[in-house]
Symmetry: C2
Subunit: 515 residues, 2 copies
């Protein structure tokens, strides 16, 4: 008797079906990350890339990198590097070999909802929100210091935006909480208000330990040791320096098999030479030295080659964004990471504008698209960045996410199937006709074109009747509507309680609140 | 005795030098056009491109193209095509062969100032302003019909903006002049207020003849017959149709050895299939048929493979811009043009926004950059487009031109010279230092980074003190300042008089003004 003719089995399957349906309704409606079907755009050929690699090797051998952290100096000494005070010099090829011997080409960052886990590396691209801004631009009140409630709003929006694959890290600084305790609330907010993957604290090794401990409560200790559940931003103190707190945090994460992004942080002209090729050699040298450190801490720990690239105004020294020079640098860095065999991280919606205006959009677009075409794997600040990273706002977040959605479609490339070729439509319609009602259009119209959540494509008259709003205004309305409609993803009450207990105990161990 | 020791010769040379210096001071400060040092980005490989070519051949052979112009039908019949009413069907490869046999791979469009002449094709990119809008968005008054004074303002701004290489054509519709006479004033304005290359009228064969006649007055008849001094926009009436007025104008220009852009005008989903590959095959078929026509009129006449690609909202039918699908189409069309061996034209700053806001900027950036990376040779609407092409404004024009300037730098690629590699700077500064004052920075700071004319990179406090203006506001101030500072390029008074006489006589031959 076949299963389908057994009433009991049918009933059971009905139960499974119901559970499956419930699970599906809670499952993401969009892919958890992008898998690019398009080729990487490479500006530097073999000769150019080899030249940059040679120059990076020269920097590592002749100039060296400062590691302001004795445990790092010890590890490098044991590995055969030349130590002179904080300065570490590497024989040509040494860092490259350490990285190639153990760093994974790509890895999965697990989310607490397995359907949200992301692949980092290879042909994959993951978009994460803005990281670090102390200010919020409130649509009505204007610019002010960010609070934990703002942090939670951004986490909620990033959770709801299908084109953002990641919950990020310090999506803004909750300045209403003490500096030495706010990392608990940040990590907890990512877990509580989202089920997408997220980032841990890097401002102190102890805060990194706390981040890992909280993940153990969520995922279990053994799982954490075997899987990357955190990806963490380790900035170099460019030029050619890594400081103690960043290295200490990197050490904690690598030891726990958690992901790190080793990111030269470059305002070219100040922290690197004014030329793209010079900047690129420095970036490669810094990134390789930092990545080698993680591999010496724990061979095989997931690590990402990071690049934050900007230029400065040579008149005022102010950082500038969306200019052509950083786009060149980014393109080269992505290619160098591919040659090295590690995932690559860039910035996303970078801009200097104080408002979500045309400047913000131009600059963001000219960071986002070059990054995607260069083949970025992990794009931090993909949405919500304003004012050189000092501020964020919900409006820019949803605007940028809309652009990220377009990137997903673009990265899908051409559909060359018979349906994609559409010769039947061309034959049906013929010269002088229109395609609106033809069978092929009817078959495909639901998925035919990207539908922007922000753009107004109506007639001038309709737009005027709708209040003549600009994009920022529409983005404001959308973000407010989303926050009203927000519903949290389910979280096991035992885990929630465990996290709250842990935080309470740890917080009470600090004598004074320090803001 | 060497020339330099002969006082008379020195004196003479002094005179030459003075003249040369004077000429140089009047010469453009920026390159007349871009020569891209970066590779073209190609999304479709050999297999994909060959498939599209096969499908285009199938469209031309099985479905055919309507040519609503008896002289075209006659030419095609003589060339061996199959004629059925207005429908022309071509044996596979026929159009391709006609084009390859005579159409130039690249050509120079001469400007009346030889230093402004532009190369169209190959690795070159030429940016031209917006074409066609009947409305102006006045910064203070809002949207209104455009006038000849607006036309002249845009010509003046395009003349002054170094990143725009071309004066364009119908930069806006001067609706205060009669329809049957306004082409005289448009062509005259391009000649009078700019010395960059420009476009002629295409709305009627007689107006095309008038445009050529005015060029003969400026350049001389023999020069015009031997050189392209006009490039003219011939839109297909997609799908698969060319109408009488466009073909008549194209015939006039080709016969006079002037350039044409044969442009399928596609709102995908309405005028082509909803898929990129289907749209692309149609574009190739239409463009090849139109280009073949020009070569049958006069073998060797300069012709450009054009593409205007947009998608539509499947909810409202409204055209949408800056979306990923048209970027794919454009990328494929550029590659197909290269394989065919002809220059390629795309759109530039396309957007649906009614304002120069974030929507406008996002959409424009996601048209401009993909076009440049695809290797576009002639980019129409590179600056000043608003509201689906229905409107323009001075603010968007200068904003977009700023982005075009960035494209010029990006297209320059990496400087891999010793100075570009900057190892001396890295050695001088070392770990923990800064590059602001090092010798390499001092040597390079003037040309180090692109300087935006619009972006505000100042601190929040400085920006606030400056009036908390958005980019549109700053662009308004810049455009007004430029118009105040505008000084016309010299124009031979005899030529000016000749043009005025010609226009007066021709205008008086029309009995009635028709608006």
């Amino acid at each position: 008797m076949s299963d389908s003719e057994n009433p009991t089995a049918r009933k059971k399957r009905g139960g499974r079906r119901a559970r499956q349906a419930a699970a599906e309704s809670a499952a993401p409606s969009a892919p958890a990350y992008i898998t690019r079907a398009i080729p990487e755009y490479e500006l530097l050929g073999e000769e150019g890339l080899a030249l940059i690699e040679k120059n990076a090797d020269a920097i590592l051998a002749e100039i060296g990198i400062n590691f302001q952290y004795p445990p790092a100096l010890k590890l490098f000494k044991e590995a055969g590097a030349e130590i002179d005070g904080d300065r570490v010099r590497f024989a040509p090829g040494m860092c490259r070999k350490i990285i190639r011997d153990s760093a994974p080409r790509e890895f999965e960052q697990k989310a607490r909802n397995p359907a949200r886990s992301v692949m980092i590396g290879g042909k994959h691209t993951v978009f994460a929100p803005v990281y670090g801004p102390p200010f919020i631009r409130d649509f009505k009140e204007g610019r002010r210091y960010a609070k934990i409630s703002d942090f939670q709003d951004i986490v909620k929006l990033a959770y709801m935006l299908p084109s953002l694959h990641h919950s990020g890290g310090t999506v803004c600084e909750p300045t209403d909480l003490p500096v030495n305790k706010r990392h608990f609330d940040m990590v907890y907010s990512h877990i509580k208000y989202s089920d997408k993957p997220f980032m841990g604290s890097v401002t102190h090794p102890e805060r990194a330990e706390d981040s890992v401990a909280m993940c153990r409560i969520v995922f279990g200790g053994e799982f954490v040791d075997k899987n990357a559940v955190l990806v963490n931003l380790i900035n170099a103190n460019s030029p050619m320096t890594f400081d103690e707190s960043m290295l200490g945090a990197a050490e904690v994460y690598a030891r726990n098999n958690q992901g790190t992004v080793i990111s030269p942080f470059i305002l070219a002209g100040a922290m690197s030479p004014v030329t793209a090729a010079g900047t690129l050699a420095q970036i490669l040298a810094e990134a390789m030295a930092g990545m080698a450190f993680t591999q010496l801490v724990r061979a095989g720990a997931p690590v990402i080659f990071g690049t934050f690239a900007s230029s400065i105004s040579m008149q005022s020294g102010a950082p500038t964004f969306g200019t052509p020079e950083p786009a060149l640098v980014l393109n080269g860095a992505a290619a160098l990471a591919r040659r090295l065999g590690v995932p690559f991280r860039s910035g996303g919606s970078l801009c200097a504008s104080k408002l979500p205006d045309a400047q913000a959009a131009f600059e963001s677009a000219h960071t986002l698209l070059p990054g995607v075409l260069a083949g970025v794997n992990f794009m931090l600040h993909a949405a919500g960045w304003l004012e050189g990273g000092l501020a964020t706002c919900c409006e820019k977040l949803v605007m940028d996410a809309d652009q990220c959605g377009m990137m997903q479609v673009f990265a899908g490339g051409f559909d060359l199937s018979e349906n994609g070729q559409a010769l039947d439509a061309l034959r049906e319609v013929g010269p002088g006709g229109h395609f609106l009602g033809c069978a092929h259009t009817q078959r495909n119209f639901k998925t035919a074109f990207y539908r922007s959540a922000i753009a107004d494509n109506n007639s001038f008259e309709q737009w005027q009747a709708d209040g003549a709003k600009d994009a920022a205004h529409r983005a404001h309305e959308l973000s407010q509507k989303m926050l009203q409609e927000y519903a949290p993803p389910p979280l096991d009450p035992g885990i929630d309680e465990g996290l709250r207990d842990f935080m309470e105990k740890r917080k009470s161990s600090f004598a004074d609140a320090s803001f």
